[in-house]
Structures are given as C-alpha cells and as structure tokens.
C-alpha cells in the first residue's frame, strides 16, 4: 500500500496521453461533421435523425463504462488492489456523465418525435435507473473516508448493481414498452451506417481519454493521501 506514495508510474500524466486527447477531440469533430454531411434527411424524422450520431454512441459508451466498473469491482473483491479501485471510480464518474448525456439527448429527440419529453418505456426507464445506480455508487464513495473500506464497499455495490441491470431492464420491459428497435449498424439504412460507426469510435476514444485523465487525477490524490499518512506516522 505504502509504495504508491511515490506515485504510481503508470498513472503519471504523460505527453502521449495529451496527444491522444487532442486526437480524440479532432476525431470527434471529424466524425460529427462527416456524419451530418453525408446523411440525407430521414423520410419520417428529417434532420432530427442526426441526434442519433450523439445519442446512440453516448448510450453505447455508458454501457461500456459500466462494464469497466463491473470488471474492476470484481477484481477488487477477489484480489484487492488500488489501481482497479481507482479505475472503477473513474469509469463510474465518466459513465454517469455519458449516461446523463444519453438521457438528455434522448429527450430532445423524443419531444419532437413522440411528442413527449419522457415516456415510461423499458429502455428509457432502465437507463434512468442505471444513472441512479451510478449516483448511489458515487455517493457511497463520497461518504466513506477510509480508502480500503471504500474500495471493498464500492466494489460490492458495483458488482450487485451490474447483476441488477439486466433484471431491471427485463422488469421494466414487462411493465411496458414503446421504444423503437435499438439502433445498430445492421438495423439502419446503409446511408447512416458509416456516420454511426465513425461516431461510435469517436465516443470510444473520448471515453478512454476521459477515464484516463480522471484516473490520473485520482491516483495523484491517493498518492498525496499516502504521503500525508506517512508523514503523520513519522516517516519520510
């Protein structure tokens, strides 16, 4: 535990990652512009269809981030380890942001298309519940001070949350369903596939970059805490 006081070498901010961030941002701009330029107005939705290029990738990255939280939490429970804990926390924070983004963009699309901001459909409702689970996870981390306790507790919450996501989805689907079939390249008109694919990668790069930056910050903070502890104990 103590060795990290000299900062996790993997977590040190580096120029390579800064370049990756610039690349991710430029690629996002390129993907958005390309997708908007090459897609013709949809027969039913017109230009509204273009929200798909931010809404659908945001939803995919949300689930990817949650998957990272689940895997890291399992690793914390079975082997312990500070890196997995910090990585889970970083992925949860970024995932929560993308989750909120997914919901907000979906509402903007739903209002003109369905005529309502919100409807209690399976996919919408379970995405909202997922956001609440993320918020619970992050609040637990905020309200527990001891780092080791925080690591195991939040790992348990992360794993139980991950188990619950499919059950929540199924229960709400039984409750009622209205959402159109999920967008994937195979269900789309070919005119829109390239734009969606490009933006999926752009969002993936942004996600990786943001999780990375959050992880660097968390690791630095942790290193400072360790250094404080060492000083308090009369060490170096």
């Amino acid at each position: 535990m103590h060795s990290i006081a000299h900062a996790d070498p993997i977590a040190t901010p580096s120029a390579r990652w800064a370049w990756f961030g610039i690349f991710a941002l430029l690629f996002l701009v390129f993907a958005q512009v390309t997708a908007v330029m090459i897609s013709v107005p949809d027969r039913d939705m017109g230009h509204l269809q273009k929200i798909m290029y931010v809404h659908v990738p945001a939803a995919w990255t949300t689930f990817l981030a949650f998957f990272v939280v689940a895997i890291c939490s399992l690793r914390v429970l079975f082997r312990g380890g500070e890196r997995d804990d910090l990585l889970a926390a970083s992925a949860a924070e970024v995932g929560a942001v993308f989750n909120a983004l997914t919901l907000a963009l979906g509402m903007m699309w739903g209002r003109p298309t369905w005529g309502v901001w919100w409807t209690w459909d399976a996919r919408l409702t379970s995405t909202l519940v997922l956001l609440l689970i993320f918020i619970g996870y992050l609040s637990l981390r905020a309200f527990v001070d001891d780092p080791e306790r925080r690591a195991t507790w939040s790992a348990a919450v992360g794993v139980l949350g991950a188990i619950n996501v499919p059950i929540v989805y199924m229960s709400v689907r039984w409750w009622r369903t209205l959402h159109q079939v999920q967008s994937a390249p195979s269900t789309l008109d070919p005119a829109y596939t390239l734009g969606l694919r490009l933006n999926a990668f752009a969002f993936l790069f942004v996600l990786i970059f943001l999780i990375r930056r959050r992880y660097e910050a968390a690791a630095l903070l942790r290193a400072a805490e360790h250094a404080d502890d060492a000083r308090a104990l009369g060490g170096r």
């Binding site: 519940v129 609440l132 918020i135 619970g136 001891d146 139980l160 949350g161």
Partner: protein, 228 residues
C-alpha cells in the same frame, strides 16, 4: 455437523436482535407509527374517491413498507456500533455469512410484522377487499419482503457505518429495488383485481429469481464488506 453449528449461530444472532427490539420497544413502535403516518399522507395525496384509493392501494402499501423499512435497516447495524459490539461479534468463531443470515432473519421478522400492520391499516383506509386468491397474495408478500430485506440488510450494513447514513441508504437501495417493487406491486394489484389477465404468475417468477440471485450475492459479498 457444521451446518447445524452455522444454523445455531444464525438463530442466536436473530434471537439477540429480536430480544433487543422486544425489550426496548421504542424503535419498533416508532417505525410502525412512521409507516401509518405515511399511509395516511398517501391517502390525502390520492383520495378521497374510493375507486382511486383501491386502485393505488398495492403500490402505496409497498412504498410505505419500503420507506419504513429503510429506518429499520439503518437501525439494524447501528445498534452494533454502540460500545463496539460489532468487533466482538466478529471475534466469535464461525463464518461471516452467518452474521448476515442472522441479521437478515431478524429483519425479516421485523419487516414481516411491520407489513402485516401496514396491510391491516391499508385495508381499512384504502377500502381494499380481500381477494379469493389470498394464498397467492401471501406468497407475493413473502417473496417481496425477502427481496426488500436481503438488499436492505446488506446496504444497511454499509450505510449505517458511513457518514450521512440517512441519505446514503435510500440512494443505494431504491434503484436496486426497482424490479422487486415493480413485480410485487404489479402482482399484488393483479391478484387484488382477480388476476383477469393471468399476469401474476410471471411477476411471481421474477420475484423468485430476484430473491435467489440476491440472497446468494449478498451472502457471498458480506464477508468482504463487514471486515472493513
């Protein structure tokens, strides 16, 4: 026999918790009074037409038990924190999950009694008729309570030992309980209405699956979270 020893540990812990509750009384009566007030407030929000009240009754009763249950789950581990009882509890031989099972059992009894009282008051206030399929309804009540209490006890063990426990437990618990609440409310409502669409069976299976999955998961994970 090992499992008999474990079973005796589980019973001992449950008995200890129930004895504490029986002798102090203040805690339990407070939780029940809270539940009854919530029921009355729901009545103001939804009433006074009898049809509207009857239609909302199953949702109202489950939510009331959830809100009152949150108080109970926080108390369950809070009493262990006084004079370091939890450290002593952990020093006794035997598996960690036995502590969880014991707490769970005590909370089941506790919430079961609470639920019966809330239902009794709810039947009167919300003018609910008892359906012919009442044995199935009892099954739904039991399964819903198990789902509620297993996650409530587990998250209570963490929340009661954190800062801001009053806020944290609902934040953790409510989103996790969405499937239990949906299934329990829909199944009870269907059964109260005579289950004309025969949908109660599917909800009961969902409840059963949820209970089994989370009983196993919480028992497995409890050892890790109680050490910290």
């Amino acid at each position: 026999m090992a499992w008999q020893d474990d079973w005796r540990r589980v019973r001992a812990i449950a008995w200890k918790d129930l004895t504490t509750e029986r002798r102090s009384k203040a805690g339990f009566s407070g939780v029940v009074a809270f539940g009854v007030s919530v029921l009355v407030l729901f009545g103001f929000a939804l009433g006074p037409e009898a049809a509207a009240l009857r239609d909302a009754a199953s949702g109202v009763i489950w939510l009331t038990v959830l809100f009152a249950g949150v108080l109970a789950f926080n108390r369950s581990f809070q009493v262990e924190l006084e004079s370091g009882a939890i450290e002593t509890l952990l020093l006794y031989p035997g598996p960690r999950w036995a502590i969880f099972s014991g707490k769970l059992l005590a909370n089941l009894v506790f919430v079961g009694v609470l639920l019966s009282i809330v239902i009794g008051v709810g039947i009167v206030l919300f003018q609910v008729g008892i359906p012919e399929a009442w044995p199935a309804l009892l099954g739904v009540l039991a399964l819903g309570t198990v789902g509620l209490v297993s996650l409530g006890t587990f998250y209570g063990a963490m929340a009661s030992r954190s800062r801001a426990r009053e806020v944290l437990l609902p934040l953790l618990l409510f989103p996790m309980l969405v499937p239990v609440l949906l299934a329990a409310i829909q199944a009870s409502r269907a059964l109260l209405g005579g289950d004309v669409m025969t949908e109660a069976g599917a909800w009961i299976r969902l409840l059963l699956a949820f209970d089994v999955i989370f009983l196993v998961a919480t028992h497995l994970a409890f050892g890790a979270i109680i050490e910290g």
